[in-house]
């Protein structure tokens, strides 16, 4: 049944959803409304990302709350899931059958006729570069090949909402880069909810960030907005080129340093200047070879949000 709420306009709307596994509260009154584009779902292990994926994709019914896919509840109207593509952790293919047969079955599952199945198999094989694997049995694929085929399967029926759980994990750098380009293309036409622990990748691809912590959605916005909301945008940071032995002196000076490459990144106080840090370290016998401004990035945002635990 169509809704007369704002959720009606959203490709995916999750409202006050809670899920528990016995005594463990996996999700707690989570509300999330997605627009088109790519939203990266971040959070530490056990934060509830996979559970949120399963609820959003109409796999796992929530204990309380509602899910709407373009205004339709997938748990009472399964046809609403026709527009969903899902790539989970264990998106296994049937290893006994050839890749083409696996994809063909998936097309049948969605009621596609033979011509549509053939065309779409050719299209996704081209898009995710596995045309040469179509006649290979599923069990003969490497992890990376399997992941590419699984992505092809997730998009075979041309869904408008895609749930992708760490799609580039296990891929070699070149293949992962190609895949990221494809994800950008997909996100231009669709709504993607994408779980990852790769913050560099998320920073490059995501239009928005959603952050889960202990089953609660504590942030959902564009990266710039979140940096502003968390106060990180105003932070003045410097990267101090010094050895690992500089950590204790920096802490004794009241900083909370993080190691990035060969440098320690610290946040300056309101009245401090970079030269003050260098002087204080030299005074403590630390050898400093340089200092420069450091930009705030998604790593900082992640740590700031995670610290809200």
């Amino acid at each position: 049944m169509a809704l007369s709420t704002p959720a009606n306009d959203s490709p995916l709307a999750i409202e006050d959803v809670s899920v528990s596994y016995g005594n463990i509260q996996a999700l707690s009154t989570v509300t999330l409304q997605l627009e088109s584009g790519l939203t990266a779902l971040l959070g530490p292990n056990g934060a509830g990302k996979t559970t949120l994926f399963r609820v959003g994709a109409g796999i796992l019914p929530p204990d309380t709350g509602t899910v709407y896919l373009a205004g339709r509840d997938p748990f009472t109207d399964p046809a609403a899931k026709t527009d969903v593509g899902y790539l989970g952790h264990g998106a296994a293919l049937d290893g006994r059958r050839r890749v083409r047969a696996n994809l063909d079955s998936w097309g049948r599952t969605y009621g596609l006729d033979e011509t549509a199945r053939e065309n779409r198999i050719a299209r996704v094989a081209d898009r995710f570069e596995f045309a040469d694997l179509l006649d290979r049995p599923g069990e003969a694929l490497s992890r990376g090949q399997h992941q590419r085929v699984a992505l092809g399967r997730a998009t075979l029926h041309d869904p408008s909402v895609l749930f992708l759980d760490e799609p580039t994990s296990g891929l070699d750098p070149t293949t992962a880069d190609r895949l990221r380009t494809e994800l950008e293309t997909l996100a231009a036409e669709r709504t993607l909810l994408y779980a990852t622990h790769n913050l560099h990748e998320a920073a490059k691809l995501a239009d928005r960030i959603a952050f889960l912590l202990d089953g609660q959605l504590i942030a959902h916005d564009e990266v710039d907005s979140l940096l502003a909301k968390t106060g990180l945008k105003e932070d003045r940071r410097v990267a101090v080129d010094a050895g690992v032995d500089a950590e204790d002196p920096l802490r004794s000076l009241g900083y909370d340093p993080t190691r990035q490459g060969d440098a320690w990144v610290v946040t300056l106080g309101a009245d401090e200047e970079p030269a003050d840090v260098v002087a204080a370290l030299v005074e403590q016998g630390v050898r400093v070879s340089g200092i420069r401004r450091a930009d705030v990035d998604l790593n900082d945002l992640y740590r700031r949000l995670e610290a809200q635990r």
Binding site: Y21, A57, I59, P78, A92, T109
Partner: protein, 266 residues
């Protein structure tokens, strides 16, 4: 709400996938088992004394339920009329179990089931499609077995010159209903077991395997009835067995599809 068109669409897809994956091995067992039955029948024609005394007594008694008189290789006839439906029943449940393992257990263990749950079907529809698919595959294999085994056995008997005076001819077909209800029961129980204990599908051990015995009970119950000289009408056994097992399966399917939640499978 359960949509039977969607269930049928998914059933056809699962059937096609399973046939594609298992290929000729699907026909291997029914053809092999059928040929074995033909061989046993041929032995009963050539040398009836090879059958044990208990079997001979049981077969004679059961044969009296069908025919006023039989001449020629009567033990072979009795084997086909009386024991074939029971053996086919056992076979049907024996093939329904690995089919359910392949359909449900393997999918759950590999993670493929999670992806299937994201497809446009309700959980009850997916459950029903799995049961119907396992049933259809088991029945298909049973039909192949019946065609090869029973057809071949009758050919052997007729070639040996058997003559019978039929008292109630049509009821000799009634027992062949039983394998179908037993196959349905086996497919249902095995699907439920593999959905509840998916690890059984991979390890081949654990609680699930013990529960699979429930799937075998009706078939082995029938075997007991026909080999222990019990003076029970085969027609009665066939009809009550068919009705009883079908009803039990129907109630089970309705109960389980309402109860079925994927949480434990993810």
């Amino acid at each position: 709400m359960t949509d039977w068109r969607r269930i049928w669409r998914l059933t056809r897809t699962l059937l096609e996938a399973e046939v594609g994956a298992r290929g000729r091995s699907l026909a291997f067992y029914p053809v092999g088992f059928g040929m074995l039955f033909v061989a046993v029948t041929a032995i009963a024609v050539i040398s009836p004394s090879m059958l044990t005394g208990t079997t001979q007594t049981g077969l004679k008694m059961a044969l009296g339920q069908y025919f006023t008189s039989v001449s020629g290789p009567r033990f072979a006839v009795a084997l086909v009329v009386v024991q074939a439906p029971v053996l086919i029943s056992i076979f049907s449940v024996v093939v329904a179990t690995p089919t359910a393992r392949s359909l449900a257990g393997r999918r759950v263990s590999s993670g493929e089931f999670e992806t299937l749950l994201a497809a446009p079907y309700s959980h009850a529809e997916i459950f029903l499609a799995l049961v119907v698919t396992a049933f259809m595959l088991a029945v298909s294999q049973t039909v192949v077995l019946a065609f090869v085994g029973v057809g071949g056995a009758w050919a052997v008997i007729i070639a040996a010159g058997a003559r019978f005076a039929l008292s109630i001819g049509p009821i000799i077909y009634a027992p062949y209903l039983v394998p179908f209800s037993v196959a349905l029961w086996g497919a249902f129980v095995a699907t439920v077991v593999y959905l509840v204990y998916p690890e059984t599908a991979l390890s081949g051990a654990g609680t699930g395997n013990l529960l699979l015995l429930i799937a075998y009970l009706p078939a082995f119950g029938l075997l007991g009835l026909t080999t222990t000289s019990t003076p029970v009408s085969p027609l009665f056994v066939a009809v009550t067995g068919f009705v009883g097992v079908s009803m039990l399966t129907g109630i089970g399917v309705v109960a389980i599809q309402n109860w079925f939640r994927p949480t434990r499978l993810l």
